[in-house]
Symmetry: C2
Amino acid sequence: MQPFSNQITQLFGIEIPIIQAGMIWASGWRLASAVSNAGGLGVIGSGSMYPNVLKEHIQKYKVASTNPFAVNVPLLYPNIDEHIQIIIDEKVPIVFTSAGNPKTYTSLLKREGIKVVHVVSSSKFALKAQDAGCDAVVAEGFEAGGHNGREETTSFILIPSVAQAVSIPVIAAGGIATGKQMFAAMALGADAVQVGSRFIASNEASCHINFKNAIINTNEGDTQLSLKQLTPVRLLKNKFYEKVNIAELNCNSNEDLQILLGKGRAKKGMFEGQLDDGELEIGQVSSQIKNILPAVEIVNELWDEYNRICNSYCK
Amino acid sequence: MQPFSNQITQLFGIEIPIIQAGMIWASGWRLASAVSNAGGLGVIGSGSMYPNVLKEHIQKYKVASTNPFAVNVPLLYPNIDEHIQIIIDEKVPIVFTSAGNPKTYTSLLKREGIKVVHVVSSSKFALKAQDAGCDAVVAEGFEAGGHNGREETTSFILIPSVAQAVSIPVIAAGGIATGKQMFAAMALGADAVQVGSRFIASNEASCHINFKNAIINTNEGDTQLSLKQLTPVRLLKNKFYEKVNIAELNCNSNEDLQILLGKGRAKKGMFEGQLDDGELEIGQVSSQIKNILPAVEIVNELWDEYNRICNSYCK
């Protein structure tokens, strides 16, 4: 097989256009290095890390892999300036920013020779990211797990819309756990895919085994975009979700919802494995994930199926 | 080019696996016959028709085309028994049922030699339709216009899930207005596509020109799944939608919502062209529709683009 090459593999210096999503409480150096060593792009999710923890993960990554990797930085994170400084000091080659204005840090990071990718949920935000100087965008559809846009545009609409709107490469996220879905995303105009939930159910993900098992036991219809009054987030429907749902149906105030949400609920659910009381951020596609695998096998399965489908059109 | 053939084209006796959605106030004999004459499957939408009007449309269809066609029957319609009798008397070859239990009429229709297709929003309902004896299912994703499921499963997840769950053919609906989207749907496991909003913006659709113009002026994020307390329906955000939205945010009762909705609001919006006060049912994909075309050109554009993409994998 000839080596694959497109704008994204060239931009990042990787072999396979599969990018692991930077997920809080799940994607540390172990998962990121496994994905990068398999030929994709591993991403360290800094959103659940104190600055010293992030630094440790970057340094451990470098021991585990010499391949390119990225750090995901939610721009609303309180320690953001410390995170950015560590990323620069540690010469992280690629940064994915999300949940904030791409203007704030893109120029600074680019001056340091860092590639910058911003996560968006609409063509309008994709254009803003392009104008801010980003090298690529992640177009994240409504079906994705975790925090999401208010317009609820699904991957079927969002991928071709964003691909038409911008001239920089587009990475599709949301609804992708199989080579078939990867193929559909690429056909709709994506240059690569970003895969979240499928990598939660990997040996190397640092989340709790209860959470991994929850993913592989998810059925169709078991997730819901929730907490729309605060910040929309796709959750697995558990006891905590039901409480939120009742509060929302009863028109409780934002303050009441904030109290109900409390602090540390995502950690409780995803890292400590408290499936009833925790906040469990997963994508709709979890219903199609049936096993926990080493990350290298996930990359290979996706890539092999993608290539088999490409070849099936040529009889 | 060799003639295309698969389970759906064989089942319906058509040339091209493109099915026009049966849409209230828009799809009468004129649109249905134009689509069928172009090689796809035209569908008369009976949901907005009195029995005598349905009969007239079927008879006019037969003058305009000798190709196969279908009638779409929402099973909650008050005149349902009269509609079913007319369909049998007029020897309609194919019926699409929606919004109800497929067990109720499928056996009766099948005994009359009529092919029956049921519209579903989940794999669970797809299996029920298969068990009821349906010949195929329409898997309708969250992005679709009009009435929709509560689980909010998008086409990216729903198509492969339903295709895996049932052994009867699967028609994908929701998010399909281009050959690219048709290709993605087929790659995800569909045997055909059902296209709604794109055919609203056709010369032959019987809806008001104001409504057709509203479709081609829709931007990304301009639709929303609304009225979830009653029956979820995807609407264009207009003044009426804003009133519903405020009522829902204020936790108004179902009775209050029903009063706000009133009667005849869909007719007002889509047939009479009152864009502010009417209920305007359209899909998310409307943001990608930019012109009003003859239905034959819509079928040809979709099919040509689909085939171009298939061939592009074979260099």
